[in-house]
């Protein structure tokens, strides 16, 4: 169990952090919550740890979202987060472009319905269709349909963002 947990921790930690980051939009908070998820996993010893990890992570992120203070920080971080922790110092131009790209994706993701967004993020976190179905309550066969819809809507919304930006610049 110890070795299994270590392997799970090594292979899943980054995915859990990324999954949480896309919900709370705070890198430090996402890491804190991810560590909390693994601490709880050690205490509970779930039978299906991988699906359990993301289920708990989703619950923690939901709790975070309910806090009003959380929302305020969210708005602040929308402007300055991932760029606030770069591993290298980009040029100011690159920095601005990168900020715009991130904001465009965030806005596009925000146009999805909560269920579509949840399933898209779970898939991107590496969960299988049956695991996604088990966590969201969907039928396994409906996961593909939902994913297809979510991907198309995300890309379409992102395209509209680009068109709007170009129109604004021109």
């Amino acid at each position: 169990m110890s070795d299994e947990f270590e392997a799970l921790y090594a292979s899943t930690y980054t995915a859990v952090v990324r999954f949480l980051y896309r919900k709370v939009w705070d890198a430090e908070r996402a890491e804190d919550l991810a560590q909390e998820v693994f601490v709880r996993a050690l205490a509970h010893r779930p039978e299906k740890p991988r699906a359990w990890l993301f289920a708990v992570a989703a619950n923690l992120a939901r709790d975070e979202a309910r806090a009003a203070v959380r929302r305020k920080r969210h708005l602040t971080l929308l402007k300055g987060d991932p760029v606030a922790q770069p591993t290298f110092e980009p040029s100011p131009e690159d920095q601005v472009e990168r900020d715009e790209q991130i904001a465009a994706v965030q806005d596009a993701l925000g146009t999805l319905t909560p269920r579509d967004r949840e399933i898209l993020l779970l898939w991107d976190a590496g969960l299988s269709y049956p695991e996604i179905a088990g966590q969201t309550g969907l039928a396994v066969g409906a996961v593909g349909t939902t994913l297809a819809r979510a991907r198309k809507r995300l890309v379409a919304a992102h395209g509209r963002q680009h068109l709007g930006d170009h129109a604004a610049h021109s």
């Binding site: 947990f5 270590e6 921790y9 090594a10 930690y13 980054t14 952090v17 990324r18 980051y21 896309r22 890198a27 996402a30 890491e31 560590q35 693994f38 601490v39 050690l42 205490a43 991932p82 922790q85 770069p86 591993t87 790209q101 991130i102 994706v105 965030q106 596009a108 993701l109 898209l120 993020l121 898939w123 991107d124 299988s128 269709y129 396994v140 066969g141 996961v143 593909g144 349909t145 994913l147 297809a148 991907r151 198309k152 995300l154 890309v155 992102h158």
Partner: protein
């Protein structure tokens, strides 16, 4: 090629192509789809579009990832988990302890509520029903007789069938010399036609009416002088543990009973009041007390005269008695106080 010309298998649904690219299908279905794709150009084009959409979605989401994520050591996670388990266990232990205390309190309260009425009845019942010559044990071991008045003690150990006994318990001061009268009960004072009223030092008249007759539940020395007299006899230098007063007739001062504890641990009680009342309380004939008061050397008061083991002083119509053994300095102090009282009168 479309589904109608292909014949055997229609075009692959879009959702299934997503599942195929996401590797969410079993191996058999994957073989079927790949066979179809080999001969169906529209499905191949659809697959390529979906693959591009999938890759683009993945690339977009990849931008929404914190940079430089580094997992902390697994030991840190284990340490936090162990601390969490320890805290949970400690909380459980404290909760169990608190619950046991609450249960104990509940049992104690319930038991006290169940037993309290029995205790009060046992303490009250025997006081006036004893024989005329009830032997009373004082702190000094003297045996007094109380032919007409009564002396009650508090505590459930007083038997309902035996004469009331005043046992020595100096450490708790739980036994108290208590002239026992109900507020509405007539007394046996020979020089008093009306009913006498006892005033306890701890409560108002209405409180006393509500209390059962017998035990003195909340005596306080601080209020005792208010009930009777500020010149109540007592051993100087020692705090009063109890004070109890019996109101007299109009124009007469009350009979006062003061209980104190000496440094040695002995409980001393002094009773001061009308000669007839005090004498009756201790079974002393007024004549005996007056005879013993003749030799007060150089003093307007009276000399101490033991009656059994009870010291008595008499001045005029007032008498002071102290059952048991009193220190000599206390005796002198009492005599001075009595003399002072006589001058005041």
């Amino acid at each position: 090629m479309d589904g109608s010309t292909w014949g055997i298998m229609p075009h692959i649904p879009e959702a299934e192509l997503h599942a195929y690219l996401d590797q969410a299908l079993n191996r058999l279905r994957c073989v079927e789809i790949e066979s179809h794709l080999a001969d169906c150009t529209p499905c191949r084009e659809a697959r390529d579009e979906i693959a591009a959409l999938r890759d683009r979605t993945t690339a977009m989401l990849a931008r929404l990832a914190p940079r430089g994520t580094l997992a902390p050591p697994i030991t840190e996670i284990r340490r936090r988990a162990a601390a969490r388990v320890f805290q949970r266990e400690r909380f459980r232990q404290r909760a169990a302890w608190a619950a046991s205390v609450l249960v104990a309190l509940g049992v104690g309260w319930g038991g006290a509520s169940y037993l309290a009425p029995v205790s009060s009845v046992r303490a009250v019942a025997p006081v006036n029903s004893g024989p005329a010559t009830s032997p009373l044990r004082t702190d000094g071991g003297a045996r007094l007789t109380a032919p007409s008045q009564t002396i009650a003690t508090t505590g459930p150990e007083v038997s309902t069938t035996e004469p009331p006994a005043l046992e020595r318990r100096p450490e708790s001061m739980s036994h108290r010399l208590l002239p026992h009268h109900a507020p509405h009960q007539p007394t046996s004072r020979p020089d008093q036609s009306g009913p006498a009223e006892f005033a306890t030092a701890g409560g108002t008249q209405s409180d006393r009416q509500a209390e059962p007759v017998g035990p003195w539940r909340n005596p306080r020395w601080e209020r005792a002088p208010e009930q009777a007299s500020n010149t109540a006899a007592r051993t100087e230098g020692r705090p009063g543990a109890d004070g109890q007063a019996q109101a007299g007739d109009t124009g007469r001062k009350a009979m006062m009973v003061v209980t104190q504890q000496l440094k040695s641990g002995e409980v001393v009680r002094t009773i001061e009041g009308p000669v007839s009342d005090v004498a009756a309380l201790f079974g002393t004939r007024p004549g005996e007390a007056s005879e013993s008061s003749a030799s007060a050397a150089g003093s307007p008061g009276e000399a101490p005269a033991p009656v059994g083991s009870t010291f008595s002083f008499r001045h005029g119509d007032r008498m002071l008695s102290a059952p048991g053994t009193l220190p000599s300095d206390s005796l002198r102090a009492m005599m001075r106080r009595l003399n002072l009282m006589s001058r005041v009168r």
